[in-house]
């Protein structure tokens, strides 16, 4: 274990991650394009600055709160500071982005997260500011009236709406494990039908992106992610269980601002959120480097806030922005609460990472080929796998 640890340490001490600076020309050009786009949106139906100001005041926020939020969000989106006014302006045209949100094989966790959208203050206004046309959890009508609402939205916003999908899609037995609507349409058919007229699809949460818990072995219902079903539309994956609402909002904002989807990695995850590892920005990182580990729940090291690697933390191989964005008004995140990262934003979660609380993250039978295509990641993974294989085998994984 000690020897393996030494190998792993040398691997995990390298910083992963993406280029956050693409050069002045790139940003200047982007800025221009965004400006044009926002002007165009404003011409469609302005949600004026006055109106926004009004809403802010009503909700008890002031311009300063708002600007603070704007600069935090600009940073999260990995845009240079001079984009801040543009981000602020974009909020004013967000109500021109129609969103249809559907729930499939889900637990409603992403909807709940969305409802608690945290971040500094202004996120709270999102319900009012974006144009949420259909959302089963929140909408007033049921049954036929709900279906009609959906039809209306699809017709009015044909080829314009963003389709948010929460939950996996059961494909076994011709899709019998999920039906919806008076006609008893299967989820597969429902998704395909709603995708056809969507501008783009945003898969929220690990179930909609990579199958999540329903797809864990033995995957009784043949659960799949959206990208396994829909092939002819742009897709953005926002994995994690649940997806961080800040990232959901980030995608909508970027889309409104640029008219395009954010830059994605090979797993279709926005790079602004999934471009670097938990481990890179972790507040316990100094302890990892210093070799100070929690060895047992509640021990002296736990009380001192040492690194959770030996308690099974998957931060070194998990790409997500939890340590910087955090949750619920930036209050905390799992590693801060003393529990290791369990890798919820990675494909193969859950099978790849259980036991969650033992330092043997990988199922030796799991095929990593598609996972870490960020070059550094591949090297890391191979080395890590070798280093931990023996231990994994002893633990006896059940996944197939």
């Amino acid at each position: 274990m000690e020897k393996d640890l030494a190998i792993q340490k040398s691997i995990f001490s390298k910083i992963s991650g993406i280029d956050t600076n693409k050069g002045d020309d790139f940003y200047e050009d982007l800025y221009k394009r965004c400006e044009e786009r926002i002007d165009a949106l404003q011409a469609v139906n302005p949600f004026t600055e006055d109106e926004l100001e009004e809403v802010l005041v009503e909700e008890g926020y002031n311009r300063r709160d708002f600007m603070k939020w704007v600069s935090a969000t600009t940073a999260m989106l990995m845009l240079p500071g001079f984009f801040e006014p543009l981000v602020a302006k974009t909020v004013q045209v967000l109500n021109r982005v129609p969103v249809i949100w559907i729930n499939l094989q889900d637990c409603a966790g992403n909807s709940e997260a969305f409802l608690r959208t945290d971040g500094p203050t202004v996120d709270e206004l999102i319900l009012e500011i974006i144009s949420l046309e259909f959302h089963e959890l929140l909408m007033a009508p049921s049954g036929e009236h709900a279906e009609q609402q959906l039809e209306n939205a699809m017709t009015t916003f044909k080829n314009e709406y963003l389709l948010f999908v929460e939950g996996a899609i059961p494909t076994a037995e011709n899709g019998i494990y999920g039906t919806i609507g008076t006609s008893g349409e299967t989820y597969v058919d429902h998704l395909v039908r709603l995708s056809a007229d969507a501008k783009a699809i945003v898969a929220v949460g690990t179930c909609a992106t990579f199958g999540g818990i329903p797809a864990a072995a033995p995957n009784p219902t043949g659960a799949r992610g959206v990208m396994d079903i829909v092939s002819n539309k742009p897709i953005v994956n926002i994995p994690a269980c649940p997806a961080n609402p800040a990232n959901m909002l980030g995608v909508i904002l970027l889309y409104a601002m640029t008219g395009e989807l954010p830059e994605l990695d090979s797993l279709l995850r926005p790079k602004f959120a999934f471009g670097y590892r938990i481990h890179d920005a972790c507040e316990r990182r100094v302890h990892f480097d210093a070799g100070e580990y929690v060895e047992e729940w509640g021990d002296a090291s736990a009380q001192a806030g040492h690194c959770l690697y030996k308690m099974g933390c998957k931060g070194p191989v998990t790409f997500n922005n939890c340590p910087t964005v955090k949750y619920n008004r930036g209050t905390s995140w799992p590693v801060a609460a003393g529990h290791g990262c369990i890798g919820c934003s990675e494909p193969g979660f859950f099978d790849k990472f259980d036991r969650f609380e033992a330092p043997t993250p990988f199922n030796p039978n799991y095929n990593p080929a598609s996972d870490f295509q960020i070059a550094a990641g591949i090297g890391l993974f191979a080395a890590y796998k070798t280093a931990t294989q023996e231990e994994s085998a002893q633990e006896g994984y059940h996944g197939e």
């Binding site: 009503e58 094989q105 637990c107 409603a108 966790g109 709940e112 608690r116 959208t117 945290d118 709270e124 319900l127 949420l132 046309e133 259909f134 089963e136 959890l137 929140l138 909408m139 007033a140 009508p141 049921s142 036929e144 009236h145 709900a146 209306n152 059961p170 076994a172 037995e173 011709n174 494990y177 999920g178 039906t179 919806i180 609507g181 008076t182 006609s183 008893g184 299967t186 864990a216 009784p220 659960a223 729940w297 509640g298 736990a302 009380q303 209050t331 905390s332 995140w333 799992p334 590693v335 609460a337 003393g338 529990h339 369990i342 859950f350 259980d354 036991r355 969650f356 609380e357 059940h398």
Partner: protein
């Protein structure tokens, strides 16, 4: 006279997927028959088999993204029960704190965002005089003996304008296509304006509760700080600032509950008193409570509980029987599973037997209601159908003479000028939930203080050590407690350190189950049957009643066991065209 068979799918403003088919008598507009079905499932129990028991909590909580904390705790408690491990005081208190916040979060979001639109006509609020609204807000707070959360005409005026703008744009978004103007809505325009204002304010308050859960859980939904034997977030409770933040947020929430939520309930009780006297939506009137929130340390089954367990039969408050986990079974006569007879969850099997819809006529699919028609099983207690949930907790506590619970209930019925019998109704279920929120908002700060005292005394123990190999070879356990929606239990059998069998019997299974082997209706079905519907094309009364339970279908449908079963053996009805 002809009967009309209506299909409502999707039922919105619930968690998960549900369909209701109701047969309505044309002459009287009365629901003469009703079938409640779930149309989605995932198979999480099957997925848990063969895993390490210490991983179960993190996976089982994904049964539901709403009462996620409760599933997390019950699963971990089931393992602790199997291993005979007791958690230290700090862990017990923290678990109560996080789950207490969850209860209030759940109830608040349920009433305002998922349920209130069944009682409140959003569009009617446009006709309101903001000053009259302010008077209303003050009046009902006064009945409650509390300071109103808002009684400022300017705020109501701003809200009205905002709504008006919304409507003027011609697009109501999520408020579009509601049953606005239906004669079953009873509030005055001013009252509607108060309620819708609280709808938006509650959005903000529920974020406070989310933050409270995150202080302890690291994130929410799906927290990550509980482990078999204790908790991990010891540093958060050792930090006085963090605990103060928790406490301050709790106080603000309490203010909202007392100054807005409870007054809104008095308003509801007054305006919908006829429905309550008629027992509209009363349903089974037999209530089951497992018991919840241990108030002292030691084995959890033996601890005194904030919500005492027990069973009240047929609304008879003079008798309560004790809860015995051995008497819980699940019946699948009308569920898409095969089993010869009702089974206890410790040995439960779940063998899918999907038979599909009966037919599709004019594009509308119809359930095969004589046979199997839902993915939800029908739990039975001592071979009886029972209702679970906040009202059950209030009723059982009341019948038990629990001083705390009785105090909240008596106070409300006295001030509202109603009787306990009025609570056997859809509105009563909704009021029960609010009373429980009030109770929780009062006690939760005491728990913070208790925790602070314990920490100050120098007790930093957060975890009980155990020898996994020794305790996990052949073990069996259960965690039964309360979730916001009612009795929730996880049963686990462990062999050679791995999960051999896993079953969860959850609140929405109890309430939403289809008919049983004797043809008896489940709690939703029984409550909907007999409702009078004002407008057959707008089944508002049905939604009002079913929403009063706060359906959580994702949670109810986690059960399927296809392991080792040939998939080819499914019976897929060719008519339904799946």
């Amino acid at each position: 006279m002809a009967n009309k068979h209506i299909v409502i799918d999707p039922i919105t403003r619930i968690e998960g997927h549900m369909r209701i088919e109701a047969v309505i008598d044309d002459a009287t507009n009365t629901v003469v028959d009703v079938f409640c079905s779930s149309t989605m499932f995932r198979g999480i129990e099957t997925i848990l088999k063969g895993r390490d028991p210490r991983d179960c909590g993190l996976m089982a909580m994904r049964i539901c993204g709403v009462c996620t904390v409760t599933h997390f705790q019950r699963s971990i408690e089931a393992v602790e029960n199997a291993f005979n491990v007791q958690v230290p005081a700090n862990a017990r208190l923290m678990r109560n704190l996080i789950q207490g916040a969850l209860f209030m979060h759940d109830h608040l979001v349920h009433y305002y965002h998922l349920h209130s639109l069944d009682w409140v006509d959003v569009i009617s609020a446009l006709d309101a005089d903001p000053h009259a609204a302010a008077t209303e807000a003050a009046k009902w707070a006064n009945v409650a003996g509390e300071t109103p959360w808002t009684a400022d005409a300017a705020i109501f005026s701003a809200m009205k304008e905002r709504l008006a703008k919304f409507v003027a744009k011609g697009r109501l978004g999520i408020f579009g296509n509601g049953y606005w103007g239906n004669s079953s809505y009873k509030l005055t325009p001013a009252q509607n304006l108060v309620a819708i204002t609280h709808y938006f304010q509650a959005l903000e308050v529920q974020r406070d509760l989310g933050q409270m859960m995150t202080i302890i859980g690291g994130k929410d939904p799906h927290p990550q700080s509980l482990v078999v034997g204790g908790i991990t977030s010891i540093n958060d409770i050792r930090d006085p600032e963090r605990m103060k933040l928790f406490r301050d947020l709790a106080l603000r929430v309490r203010q909202f509950i007392k100054g807005a939520y409870i007054p809104d309930m008095y308003m509801l009780a007054q305006m919908y008193k006829d429905e309550m006297s008629a027992g509209s939506g009363a349903g089974l009137k037999s209530f089951l409570v497992y018991g919840g929130f241990p108030l002292n340390d030691g084995p959890i089954e033996q601890a005194a509980k904030l919500f005492p367990g027990g069973i009240v039969h047929n609304g008879d408050l003079t008798k309560v029987t004790d809860f015995d986990p051995a008497l819980v079974t699940e019946d699948v006569t009308h569920a898409w599973y095969a089993a010869p007879s009702p089974e206890h969850p410790s040995v439960g099997t779940t063998t899918p037997d999907y038979t599909g819809f009966k037919n599709i006529t004019n594009g509308v699919a119809y359930l095969d209601t004589d046979n199997k028609y839902s993915w939800i099983k029908s739990p039975l207690y001592d071979d009886q159908r029972v209702e679970v949930g906040p009202l059950a907790r209030m009723i059982v506590g009341y019948a038990r003479g629990d001083v705390r619970i009785k105090g909240y209930v008596d106070n409300f019925i006295t001030r509202a000028n109603i009787t306990v019998d009025h609570l056997y109704s859809s509105a009563g279920r909704t009021i029960g939930r609010a009373l429980e929120s009030e109770l929780m908002s009062d006690i939760i700060t005491d728990w913070v203080d208790e925790l602070n005292t314990n920490i100050a005394s120098g007790d930093l123990t957060s975890w009980t050590k155990f020898d996994f190999n020794a305790v996990s070879q052949n073990a069996q356990g259960y965690g039964v407690e309360e979730a916001p929606r009612g009795a929730l239990g996880h049963w686990i059998r462990i062999e050679n350190g791995k999960v051999a069998n896993y079953q969860a019997v959850v609140p929405s299974t109890w309430n939403a189950g289809p008919r049983d082997h004797l043809g008896r209706l489940g709690a939703y079905e029984e409550s909907i049957k007999g409702l009078k519907v004002a407008n057959i094309n707008e089944p508002l009364e049905i939604l009002r009643t079913v929403h009063s339970f706060d359906p959580c279908i994702a949670c109810a449908v986690h059960v399927v066991d296809t392991r080792g079963k040939e998939l080819g053996s499914f019976k897929v009805d060719p008519i339904c065209g799946l």
